[in-house]
Amino acid sequence: MSTSFDVIVVGGGPGGYVAAIRAAQLGLSTALVEKQHLGGICLNWGCIPTKALLKGAEVAHTLAHAADFGFTTGDISFDLKRLVKHSRDVSGRLAGGVGYLMKKNGITVVDGVARLAGKGRLSVDNDGRTVEYRADHIILATGARPRALPGIEPDGDRVWTYFEAMVPDALPQSLLVIGSGAIGVEFSSLYNDLGVEVTLVEVLDQIMPVEDAEVSAFVRQLFERRGIRVRTSTRVTAIDRHADSVTCHLEGADGSTESITVERVILSAGIRGNIENIGLEELGVETAGSFIRTDAWCRTNVAGLYAIGDVSGPPCLAHKASHEGVVCVEKLAGVADVRPLDRERVPGCTYCRPQVASVGMTEAQARAAGRSVNVGRFNLQANGKALAIGDATGFVKTVFDAASGELLGAHMVGPEMTEQIQGFGLAQSLEATDSDLAHTVFAHPTLSEAMHEAVLDALGRAIHQ
């Protein structure tokens, strides 16, 4: 087997495998090194299996409201193992699909743990057998992992990370979630829907800190109405591990303290880049915190070395990684119309109930940037489709630059919002203005009419409110 390639990608997640496919498509000889699972966290332990679990939560919710649609349900039983199995099956199938794509594109998949052995050189260790590979271009796509908090280290039993939270043997009675980013919020919503008593703790002053304050406040209100205890501006100072429970000591920013005993804790207080043990120090690769520093074309400071996805810094999202993979490869291959990724325009989706989706600046960010803004809002209570499907909880918010009409940001909360945010993404990408969007015809009856109305509202002329 050849050990010399034009491009070697380290890491088979959504950044790495996409970069490898694009490189192979462009005619470059390409290898992909993966230590464990093709598809990475996304397919195996992240985006995809959690969506399978959350569908289960949604079914529970639907069954609970079946009477609204005329159905009388008898005794309903729930087998957690079957739901988890469904989730694992989906992951297995997709990971197999990635293997097929590698084969189809003629990509050499190397099993093992890679380490930079010099510029353009990589040694791969597979069960003690080390092989050295060479490539003009090495792309690091090593991803990220849960960030541990001192004293609250995950133990795989009572203190979980998303790995354990995804494959529970049994539902705990009670759960405390530390950190309210997408992962924490999704697990809070999931376990609450499955009947677990959930407490959500966030150190900052709003849950989902990257989202618009109105969206965050709205979701918090709904969560609390569902019985989720939410504590913001609160940190977990220490935990006491017992035989089958954990006592968490909380301290508010105002100095108040509280102790909560739960069966399980999920630690989802952010992630850190996987930058250790890959030989970065020896080569003098520049890092920023736990991430590799890169330029607009994903190049590191070392000749022929690139980094994409989570390991190159936030937003740590699969679609950001994939996009960077393509940009990085197209740039090094000299493709004509390649453009750098604008990290400000990466959409974010959270699959809690209700769903949250956003792109661009929050209203507060826009104002802080000194922009004069026009804000539009539209409540789903006035959207016919939302009422028809019995889920009219949510709203759409738009933030436009008052002078240029540029769409600075869009924030959506409610059913199927994650499927719709791309409409505003397109608008940003094409530099559409408020009036361009107002002139666009939105189909009736759809949830997306709320997007149109939120644009019209920013122009002061929403029809249905």
Binding site: S4, L26, D136, V302, A303, A333, G334, S435, D436
Partner: protein
């Protein structure tokens, strides 16, 4: 020369599968020479002039304006005067498209129905037919076609009128009208989609009582338009810009009715209609669809193979090659390289990068090696800068991207450029000017553990350096047996222009730079 020769649809790029005849630039009965512009042809990407690669009398126009023809299809017949019409008819009836030609980049003619001669513009290594940047003597390019002689007389009535920049006219017609002072608003177009052709302008002049001098072969003109050709500065929506490109509409000639003063799709369609074009089709035309479809069959690669075969065979057969080889000790160079690479994370200099640098500096010292040989005009083109072609192996072939003016670049710059060019060569994203030309070639097979090899000259260059791998060897120094890292290089030279002593001295200079690399800084 065959008595009957075909003019066929050329292939201007790997993705070109067919072309649309815009306008013949010559008439039946005209004598045409090699290099004469004979037709305007459109592809989905460009409008270009078809140049003849045959000479003789144009006896028959088989293709008519508007015809969409596949690559290598018959467009016209050139034959000598004594060939009968019946023979020409038979030639047309029995003409078969040469499938191997239609897949390969080729010129505009095939001899008889036989396989085409080695094609001219090619992506392969040997395709180096660029005029020298510092041409001491012009190459034996096709003689410029004679322009019209005599003085035209143009009636004043044809000269007045509004701005005619929006009139739909061919490039040649517009040029002729400008020369004659004719306002195109006064000319009725009879060409495809009502476009004004050269004939229309001539007709208008003679029809209004004017006169034109006898028409010689058409002068080749660069493609210019009355409006600035580059419309990239015009504010337009993405859709409008792309539509304008596909319809051949210049954005300068569009009104901008879109929001924020942008040219929008409607404006481009209006400008297109004004220029006599049909409304834009709602669905992509088959031609466009064909262009965007991925190439499934690797037919173009066989074209490259054939080009390599043809050119290198010709090189080996016609150029009196001889070789001079020399061993070069690398220890000092490797030490320097380590210092450089260890000292800066952003640099990864290879031995080959150092060879490029050393050769470039040697070429400047010995300009008699830094040459191209134009056999046709018996001219040696001596270059000021060292434009070094670096052979890169790609799927089913090789290509030689050029490090231009390598003598004026630092080792770091050369290193970054070679890496980028090599990757782009493999990805197929090199532009023609990046691999056509060059004053000297380097071929390195060191990575395969090759101890020594010889290379074939890449014409019209006159020398190529074959670089083998470095290895530890026993050497005798001052009567002592020691170990040194060394490699063997072999210079193939064209004895017509480079003599043995010159080649040997050149290698000495290369060796000196490589064995005492600090001299490269001096």
């Amino acid at each position: 020369m065959a008595r009957i020769q075909a003019i066929t649809v050329p292939k201007w790029g790997l993705t070109m599968t067919e072309g649309t005849v815009s306008e013949w630039l010559v008439d039946e009965g005209d004598t045409i020479n090699i290099g004469d512009p004979i037709m305007d042809m459109e592809t989905s990407k460009i409008v270009n002039v078809v140049e003849s690669i045959v000479a003789g009398t144009l006896r028959r126009k088989v293709a008519q304006p508007g015809d969409v023809l596949p690559v290598a299809a018959l467009m016209g017949v050139v034959a000598e005067a004594d060939v009968t019409d019946a023979e020409i008819d038979e030639f047309i009836d029995t003409f078969v498209i040469d499938e191997s030609v239609s897949g390969a980049p080729t010129g505009a003619a095939a001899e008889g129905a036989a396989p085409a001669a080695p094609p001219e513009p090619t992506p392969a290594t040997a395709a180096v037919h660029e005029p020298a940047p510092t041409a001491a003597t012009p190459a034996a390019a096709p003689a410029p076609a004679p322009a019209r002689t005599g003085t035209p007389s143009v009636p004043e009535a044809l000269k007045s009128g509004d701005d005619d920049s929006a009139v739909h006219a061919t490039v040649h017609a517009r040029k002729l009208a400008a020369t004659l002072g004719v306002n195109l608003n006064n000319v009725s177009g009879t060409g495809r989609n009502g476009r004004v052709s050269v004939a229309d302008v001539e007709e208008a002049v003679t029809g209004a009582g004017g006169s034109l001098p006898a028409r010689g072969p058409v002068e080749r003109v660069p493609e210019v338009d009355a409006v600035p050709a580059d419309d990239s500065g015009v504010a337009a929506t993405s859709v409008a810009r792309r539509l304008a490109k596909s319809l051949g509409v210049n954005l300068h000639s569009c009104r901008a009715t879109g929001r924020h003063g942008k040219v929008c799709k409607y404006d481009v369609e209006a400008a297109h209609a004004l220029q006599g074009g049909a409304p834009a089709p709602a669905a992509p035309t088959p031609e466009l669809a064909a262009e965007t479809a991925p190439e499934v069959e690797a037919v173009p690669m066989s074209g490259m193979r054939r080009t390599i075969a043809g050119r290198l065979q010709a090189s080996k057969q016609t150029i009196p090659h001889y070789r001079v080889s020399m061993d070069i000790k690398l220890d000092a160079l490797l030490a320097l390289r380590k210092q450089v690479n260890d000292g800066d994370p952003g640099v990864n200099v290879s031995v080959n990068d150092c060879v490029v640098k050393a050769v470039a500096m040697a070429l400047v010292k010995m300009p008699e090696v830094n040459v191209q040989f134009d056999e046709a005009s018996q001219t040696i083109r001596r270059f000021r800068d060292a434009d070094i072609s670096v052979a890169v192996a790609i799927d089913d072939g090789l290509i030689t991207p050029i490090v231009k003016a390598a003598n004026s670049k630092t080792l770091t710059e050369i290193s970054a450029e070679v890496r980028e060019l090599a990757t782009r060569a493999k990805a197929g994203t090199l532009k023609a000017e990046e691999f056509q030309g060059g004053s000297f070639s380097i071929s390195n097979l060191g990575m395969f553990g090759v101890r020594q090899f010889d290379a074939i000259i890449n014409p019209p260059q006159a020398a190529i350096l074959a670089v083998a791998g470095g290895e530890q060897r026993p050497v005798v120094e001052n009567g002592e047996l020691t170990v040194a890292t060394a490699m063997t290089v072999s210079l193939s030279s064209d004895h017509r222009v480079i003599d043995g002593a010159v080649a040997a001295q050149f290698l000495q200079v290369v060796k000196r730079f490589m064995e005492t690399p600090s001299l490269m800084l001096a």
